[in-house]
């Protein structure tokens, strides 16, 4: 029983990281209709930049947090400006291919600049043990669950109350009409990219702080695909929920079955979900007009 509770708790923690990345997927998908295949790589890049920053200027928590947010935003804006905006009006498939190209570049850049071996992130506070009842959790795990909760509330409020959030929903609904109503769609997309890269970057840094930094971190992007699809690609809050479920399923299969099955449990889940309900649990059904 205790084992089950332990698995559940760590599953929720890793699920929260997937959930954050899935939120990042959903933000971009909602405002531009494309999937950023480089999301995991963006998370990795931000994590590496933060690691380099922490190595240079010390790993004070506030400094690291501020740097992560800034690095994520800048990276997102640069990608949007250099690669995505010039492709506006091209078929979605071409833009998706551009993000695949970007993924390859970022992955190799990390290997080119740094090396392939794992390093500790150097944030000791993350691995302090916290006991809740019989449960052993690391501070970083508790933090990331809290972070996801906070971001969930923040993004709900953002979409509900802020001008940009409402504009983003308008663009997602119908970008041409939104443009005619005076919404600056290009800027809305830039904000979406910045926000998505920041959230992905936070997830990357949290993951690196918990499990060391290595060039394999990009695979959390692959793991978050199932989460985003399960929740519904256009549902930001739903994706976060999907992340928790994928994290739990992964941890359960890993704990009770085998580690190879753990690796693909998410992918098996996507295939199932897509066959039965392609729009995910919370997504809007896409209706195509002939």
């Amino acid at each position: 029983m205790n084992y089950l509770i332990q698995l559940t708790a760590t599953g929720i923690a890793i699920g929260a990281i997937y959930g954050l990345i899935a939120m990042a997927f959903a933000l971009v998908y909602k405002s531009t209709g494309l999937i950023n295949f480089a999301q995991g790589e963006v998370a990795m890049m931000v994590a590496y930049l933060t690691w380099a920053f922490a190595g240079q200027f010390g790993s004070g928590l506030i400094g690291v947090a501020v740097f992560t947010i800034v690095a994520g935003m800048v990276l997102g804006l640069v990608i949007e400006r250099l690669l995505i905006r010039p492709m506006m009006g091209e078929p979605i498939f071409s833009i998706v291919l551009v993000t695949i190209g970007l993924a390859v570049i970022l992955r190799s850049l990390v290997l080119l600049i740094w090396d392939a071996s794992p390093h500790p992130m150097g944030i000791e506070a993350a691995s302090e043990l916290i006991r809740i009842g019989n449960l052993n959790m690391r501070a970083g795990q508790v933090f990331v669950i809290g972070l996801m909760g906070a971001l969930l509330v923040a993004s709900w409020a953002f979409f509900r109350y802020s001008r940009y959030g409402i504009a983003m929903r308008a663009v997602a609904d119908d970008d041409r009409t939104a443009l005619l109503m005076g919404v600056n769609t290009a800027r809305v997309q830039a904000v979406a990219w910045a926000a998505s890269s920041t959230i992905a970057g936070m997830a990357g840094v949290c993951f690196a702080a918990l499990y060391d930094i290595s060039p394999d971190i990009y695979s959390i992007g692959l793991k978050a695909f199932p989460a985003a699809i399960l929740g519904g690609l256009d549902a930001v809050l739903g994706s976060a929920f999907g992340g928790i479920i994928v994290g739990l399923i992964e941890n359960m299969t890993g704990g009770y079955m085998s580690s190879t099955i753990k690796e693909i449990s998410g992918f098996v889940l996507i295939v199932g979900v897509l066959m039965i309900r392609p729009s995910g649990l919370f997504g809007q059904r896409e209706i195509e007009r002939v």
Binding site: F93, V98, V104, L109, I229, V271, V290
Partner: protein
């Protein structure tokens, strides 16, 4: 007097080429390719061999993505299944290599039906993700089924001997690859001008319209997956024989990206484009090596230690560059050059 180049019957309209010079040049190229092993040294011959079997796989992907417009990010799955289809038949059970090549096509084709099934409901990005998921699932399935596949320890593959001919020498293996590449090219070119190819392209352009014209979407989408998987599987078998050792690690997800790069760089949906794209992408490491050798020592040192990363970055840059600046790919550039050459000095 003829005032233009008119097609007078269907046969002329769907002929592979109406130009004598294209036919002549193709024959000359064929002769040159057959004679190549007499002239080329081992290194160059190896490169051309790689180009040939890569071409088989890229043409396979082209049937699916270029003709039918179904995006697959899971073709490395078919590649690895093809390699294992051959390796299990020939390497473990010692059966006839011809049967091995047949299995290398049939096993992925069966998987193609399974992977293709979701394509009947899914489109675009969703399909891409599903196929990618299948590629990972296939890898794990091969590792888990170690009673059939030797699991993670891999299978050694000697070069085959068929019909009393040994393919041990590099030249003989080159001819084998040339045979498969020419066959694949012939299939691709001929599909395009048949009922099946026209149905594929109709599905690509608008599947709902295609359906209302009486095209059976289920049958043709599955057929596209099966044909594509079959050809990719053959390429996988050739790749396995070339490496002489088959493991799951030999077929990384990176190969899918390489295949995508070939299609994008060459120009989607054109057989000539696939050929040009394959040549460029396979030769890319060589080209960059030559370019970097012109620069200083520092660059060469980077190339020596981090060659793989530099090459990957170049793949990425080339994919993005072509998509951004010339979506028609090399085949588009080739057509532009041809037009300029014919019309020069006039603009058109």
């Amino acid at each position: 007097m003829r005032s233009g180049n008119f097609k007078q019957n269907v046969g002329e309209l769907i002929a592979l080429t109406d130009s004598k010079s294209v036919a002549t040049w193709s024959c000359l190229l064929m002769v040159a390719l057959i004679g190549a092993p007499m002239v080329l040294d081992a290194h160059l011959l190896g490169l051309v061999t790689v180009i040939l079997f890569t071409l088989v796989g890229a043409l396979g992907l082209n049937i699916l993505m270029g003709y039918t417009g179904l995006v697959s990010l899971g073709h490395v799955g078919f590649l690895v299944l093809g390699a294992y289809g051959y390796a299990v038949t020939v390497g473990i059970h010692g059966l006839h290599p011809l049967l091995g090549f047949l299995m290398a096509g049939i096993v992925p084709a069966i998987a193609g039906v399974i992977v293709g099934a979701p394509s009947l409901r899914l489109k675009g990005i969703y399909l891409a993700i599903t196929t990618m998921a299948f590629a990972f699932i296939i890898n794990t399935a091969i590792l888990e089924a170690d009673f059939i596949t030797n699991g993670s320890s891999g299978i050694f593959l000697p070069r085959p001997t068929m019909f009393g001919i040994s393919f041990k020498s590099d030249a003989a293996f080159y001819w084998l690859c040339l045979f498969f590449a020419v066959a694949a090219l012939a299939v691709t070119l001929n599909i395009r001008r048949s009922r099946i190819g026209r149905a594929f392209m109709a599905i690509r352009d608008n599947d709902i319209a295609a359906q209302s014209m009486g095209i059976n979407l289920i049958a043709y989408k599955l057929l596209a997956f099966v044909m594509s998987a079959f050809m990719t599987g053959i390429a996988g078998a050739l790749f396995g024989v070339y490496l002489s050792f088959v493991t799951v690690e030999g077929f990384t997800f990176h190969l899918t990206i390489e295949a995508l790069a070939i299609l994008v760089v060459g120009g989607l949906g054109s057989a000539l484009g696939v050929v040009l794209g394959t040549i460029l992408i396979v030769l890319l490491p060589e080209i960059t090596g030559v370019l970097l050798s012109l620069t200083g020592d520092a660059a060469q040192e980077v190339m020596a230690t981090k060659a793989f990363e530099v090459r990957n970055i170049l793949y990425g840059v080339i994919i993005i560059g072509f998509l951004r600046f010339d979506p028609t790919g090399l085949v588009g550039i080739w057509k532009d050059v041809q037009r300029t050459w014919v019309n020069w000095p006039l603009k058109y």
